[in-house]
Symmetry: D2
């Protein structure tokens, strides 16, 4: 079986793994205070184009989201996000488990707009009985979104502006960030994200690391005592260097972007190929996740050789499946896929 | 100014207050273990038509909701409720502060249906990755709802059935229960609620008590150690007898229902009167809350003499206001109101 | 049976109750924003000798403690307190339920010292791995303590000083404050507490109110959005004026202090009387709680007429009981008690 | 510098790393449902000598402790543990962050006794006002303890007995389990732990894995929906096979015990060597952690070549240091250490 169901079916990019092999028997201090983490932080700061950010390494995405959000909010404050946002749907209520309401807004292709944020904020503060309601304080967006879509630079500028006006934090979940940054036609760079968000994270798990996410914090209010949060939430890796080493491998040369380009190119090849065969898409995605509408009979046949994620039922006879490429996807498998479709 | 904005602008019904006066200098043990609480519990059991229920007295509605819900749910479980549900909108995220997600469903006039519950449940359990999502475990409904509407007995039977099938708790918020039970045309009794829910509460604050809500628990799973929850959440009144005495006053004769009838009768008088004058209603409510669409200019004029709750903007020229009657509403004020409209 | 087991066996002081009676059918806005609450706030500010404090009314003690402490702490911070502190022992882990560790220090007669606080603080910050430990941020003291003892003004000044040096909040639980302020020989006034703490509360439940505690906040950092906390924790009374009215009754003249004097005088009478009869005391208390060592046989006899709180086993043959006086204790009952002992 | 300060300064045992290398480009399903995890579970069940246990893999120790404890306790229940217990001291209040009080008991060399547990339990239930206090429900012990000491089989049998009598869960933190199981003179086996605890975990991070802890649950009450907890707390690794592979490497042959023996043998060599040189020990430990009392001047000299953990100040002139061996400690470094001392 060839797996296309997600972007974490393989281990790590060989260059990433090699770093772990090369340093395996070295001794170093724990908890992210070793020289490799420091070196990786330096690379990340360079890639982000600014020195005024704090850089922390955590193990996984849910953990990262809950840690940053809990650090940002006071107990009566909540996080605005799209209805489809990962924290709203697929993290078992981990933000609520920290005591905070997720304030879901109807999304458009997984995205929310500055207007929606403004309206949610204004409507809260206009209410005389506002203390009876959760106070919006943080805007959570993902880039790419859970549906593979991307924000434009202008949209991010607008969100930044509204957050500044309203005293809100802007937090960006970059679990699949490479696949966003490397997408054809995007005008958003890593430096833009560092400049426009209060905090964001650079995903490793889904982009070539064994595991690991890298949080970049620009807003000083979110920096204070952040390590206490990491530790309390169970996210502080004893052998912290493992995280530093992996991000070092991904950022000391251009590997992170290369992996993004590889996955996106193959995703576009699939998109193009399926379009030519007359397939329709559920969402128009320019990144590594493609949502294709497939006739159920056909799907059954394809699933003798391939594994996909079933996203949703389209109608009586059709299903929406997700086809994911990644840094590890082989061109030959994409070609075989296109043949069989 | 005559206040119609809610049903808690006055103190307590004189008969309720009198009980507190009569017993003021008596000595009794604290925390709800005194003879008055015991007597009140007995009256409630009689009114509910069953002896197998546990009866607890708490101070307020938000506290009651969060305490019952936290007692019912394990950390990864959530509460299904209408989008307009009080716990979803007007309790400052108190359920989330206990760690639980409120799973909002699109409501119809403040109500949710057995079908919606079934679908939410089935869709969770059908998902292979269900542990990535909050598990629905409790259904929260209010009766009357926040919009003044009522469930029919059949609707409650349907909800009970689906909860039994799905292993869900059914919890009913009766903050304004008297106004529901006394409404014209309802076929739902207190005994029905005791039989059909796992737990519900009989509201005192909005129906003639100084304060106080009475939780009735039928499901043994929710009974265990419930007093620990009350205490931990700050809801255990030291002079617990104050709650027992008030509910005793409301239930030793028929006072609770009488107060409900009084408010509902006057609400229907307002509804009838305004209809005759050509006013339209935002929601068709048979209980003490009436949601009227008023022209903004007219409203400004009315607000020289009366206080209303502004519910929502209807259109450029109209506002939806809430007019509440209560056990304490004076007929003469209703008449004056109708004159001025 | 005559009850001496605690200071909340009766209802309210007649003057307090009268206020509720007099205003019962008035209409007013809810949630503590009515004129009576405003007037009570003004009186409290006068009694506290400063205008720069925020004054809030809550229903009960546990609720007040958990609300203030949750408002003061970030998730990884904890509250230092004496091992015997109410929050550490008798509030069902309500502070922990808000996510915060209670950092118990060995107390001396229910009190902790500035030195202990300093040491706990310094030891945390001296540790290189401090983010692996809970950060002390608030000092919780009670006055009178759970053992009836009092801080001196110098001790409070020392605590203030160390809190300033260490960046800690000082929060004082005044559940029995009147009995502390009115005690013979104390040099601590209400104005001192307002000046020396970041926040404290004036207990009503145990001093003549039906229920209610009044939080006084001096530190601006604790003032922000405090009403959200009250609401979220279920402590915002719909008919908020009931709290304002009671505190108005207690503070518009000198009633609060009078009630304190009454209880303390009778407690001293008991202390003196029992000492003369040769009884020993477990703790040397100058306030309304007296902890007496009683021979078990004698106790059994006394308990035919009186109810006491059993505090702890002293030895095989003796028990430590607590005798409480209050604003409501009758002199004749004290005399009868002394006769029977 | 040669690091002796803890047992996680190196990466993974070569055999563990090799497994990751060998399988790196394979594709597999995520979240611990792959064949390697399944194979590892089977090995663990064999090593534990029973098939009726659930086996889960988590990333780190704090995460594992908080996840198991939160799964075991209802909101008003707490965990009994030694004052020195890791959850009480070095996990930034992560158990409290889940809402539960840690009920610390004075430990003897890091251990608690069945008698202490019984007394804590009985004293809670004997109290008429027990709902005002946290209900003890789980006993947390570590083996080896934070001080390197071990429980005997009889002590564990006694704890099991008292837990059965009192309805308590027994949870054992085995972060350094190999070093306990392999210690000279111990009569406790892995099968004993599986039989005598309700749940325990087999530490990987400190014993040769890159990271990872393996939870073994025998009590059915703790098994239900455990994967929801893992996910909600951020402990569910996307590439879950990484954990399975590592535990497979450690348990498919005898590697886990071999690593334990290696570390313990070298620790005993250090102990013997330092004893012969006249050094005193702070604690008598038979496992890989040795707590030695060193003169400060001497320490300064040693620290030119070696890194130790400073445990505590012994007196004006002496410090207690911790010397840790591990699976990776080189015999030559131990010899050099003994020479220099």
């Amino acid at each position: 079986m060839i797996m296309f169901q997600n972007d974490y079916v393989e281990g790590a990019h060989p260059a990433v793994l090699q770093k772990l092999i090369d340093t395996n028997m070295e001794q170093s201090v724990g908890y992210g205070e070793d020289p490799y983490c420091e070196a990786a932080r330096e690379r990340i700061r360079q890639a982000a184009g600014r020195q005024d950010v704090d850089v922390h390494f955590l193990v996984g995405g849910t953990q990262t989201n809950l840690t940053v959000i809990d650090a940002a909010l006071r107990p009566y404050q909540g996080a605005l996000c799209a209805q489809t946002g990962h924290i709203n749907v697929h993290e078992t209520g981990s933000v609520e488990a920290c005591g905070h309401k997720v304030l879901a807004l109807p999304g458009q292709d997984g995205k929310i707009t500055a207007e929606q944020v403004k309206e949610a904020h204004d409507s809260h503060w206009a209410d005389g009985a506002r203390e009876h309601m959760v106070q919006p304080k943080l805007v959570y967006i993902s880039h790419p979104t859970e549906l593979g879509t991307l924000y434009t630079k202008q949209e991010l500028l607008d969100l930044r502006k509204v957050c500044d006006e309203c005293g809100l934090y802007l937090f960006l979940d970059g679990a699949r960030l490479a696949y966003g940054l490397a997408a054809e036609g995007t005008d958003v760079t890593l430096a833009d994200l560092a400049a426009l968000t209060d905090a964001f994270y650079i995903g490793g798990t889904k982009v070539g690391a064994l595991f690991g996410e890298c949080v970049v914090i620009r807003n000083p209010a979110l920096k204070e005592d952040f390590r206490y949060f990491i530790k309390q939430k169970g996210g502080m890796l004893a052998k912290g260097r493992l995280l530093g080493l992996q991000f070092l491998a991904m950022f000391e040369k251009d590997l992170y972007m290369e992996m993004g380009h590889h996955a996106d190119r193959l995703a576009m090849k699939i998109r193009q190929g399926l379009r030519e065969k007359g397939y329709r898409f559920y969402i128009d995605s320019v990144t590594n996740q493609q949502f294709v509408i497939v006739e159920n009979e056909k799907l059954k046949e394809l699933e003798k050789e391939f594994v996909f994620n079933h996203e949703t039922r389209y109608d009586e006879k059709h299903t929406v499946i997700r086809i994911c490429t990644s840094w590890a996807t082989k061109e030959e498998n994409v070609e075989k896929l296109l043949e069989r479709f």
